[in-house]
Symmetry: C2
Subunit: 159 residues, 2 copies
Amino acid sequence: MKTPPKTLTVLKDEAPETSSAEQLIDALRTKGFRITKIRQAMIEALVAASQPVSAPQLLEQVSQRHPSVNKTTIYRELDFLADNKILSEIDILDGMKRYELLHPDHHHHHLVCTSCRDIQCVEVPHHDLHALEGKIQQTHNFTVQSHVLEFFGLCRKCS
Amino acid sequence: MKTPPKTLTVLKDEAPETSSAEQLIDALRTKGFRITKIRQAMIEALVAASQPVSAPQLLEQVSQRHPSVNKTTIYRELDFLADNKILSEIDILDGMKRYELLHPDHHHHHLVCTSCRDIQCVEVPHHDLHALEGKIQQTHNFTVQSHVLEFFGLCRKCS
DNA sequence: GGCTTCTTGCGACTCATTTGCAAAAGCCCC
DNA sequence: GGGGCTTTTGCAAATGAGTCGCAAGAAGCC
């Protein structure tokens, strides 16, 4: 809303915030990266995912279409996609990282159900956290680069 | 300050917020648990720690006095102490959990240096987060039980 | 089609954390 | 101050996420 329109093409009428797999792939191609079947399959799986996924989950997903994928490839590709700002890592304290598409102009947090491990997104008014980070910067001599804020509890179904 | 005095004995004049090892041990004894040398050594190590420690660190610490401790024991004991609300887990995203004494009437957050992994504590005005949790409860049908809020960046020495 | 370079598969490895089981150690009671 | 019951502990082996080196395989470009 406040950011000027980038070089993005017009979004499809559905899914107002999510980039489509094709867009992401085109962007990578433009940057000179190769578009392999696995890369494509991974991006599609991530676009299709309704919530953050772990590397093992992704391995299983991608294996369905590409039975010979190796977990090493999955991990390397996740790093690659994170480096290229296509996805972000989140941590729900259960021993492994999850990944979700990164929305360039929108930062959000999560509600993690401690019973069924379902994950919802929440918008948290950002100026509050920003103000807090400013205060910390001053009082603690600490340069805040990022933060993690996640809520744990019971979702509708489990409560 | 606002909580009425519990059945606690008078604190030593130093360390106004931290329970001493003896107090924690007495509390466990009262609950009927056995006080073993390892349990005692672990509590002492945790009381002495200046910042959250990992299981491997604790293993090394305790090994100095009890060379035959096994890592399994450390992990089991950490679970035990967490179950008994003596310590809390924190996650600084480097692949292993850390533990610190839980202060019953005081909840805080951390500043994690991404360069040297040093961890400082910060007090965050709690009513802000409480208000936020209330809002989430209403708008998302989600019963918040706990949250994680950690800041990552550069400490004074590393910036 | 051939070449160059980026990606991938494979196998072995690291390292935190967990499990089952039998031996050892606390604590309570006499 | 020893017995017995139960909690803790050590050991050895397993699990599971994530990583590494290297040689073979595929994209993209001519």
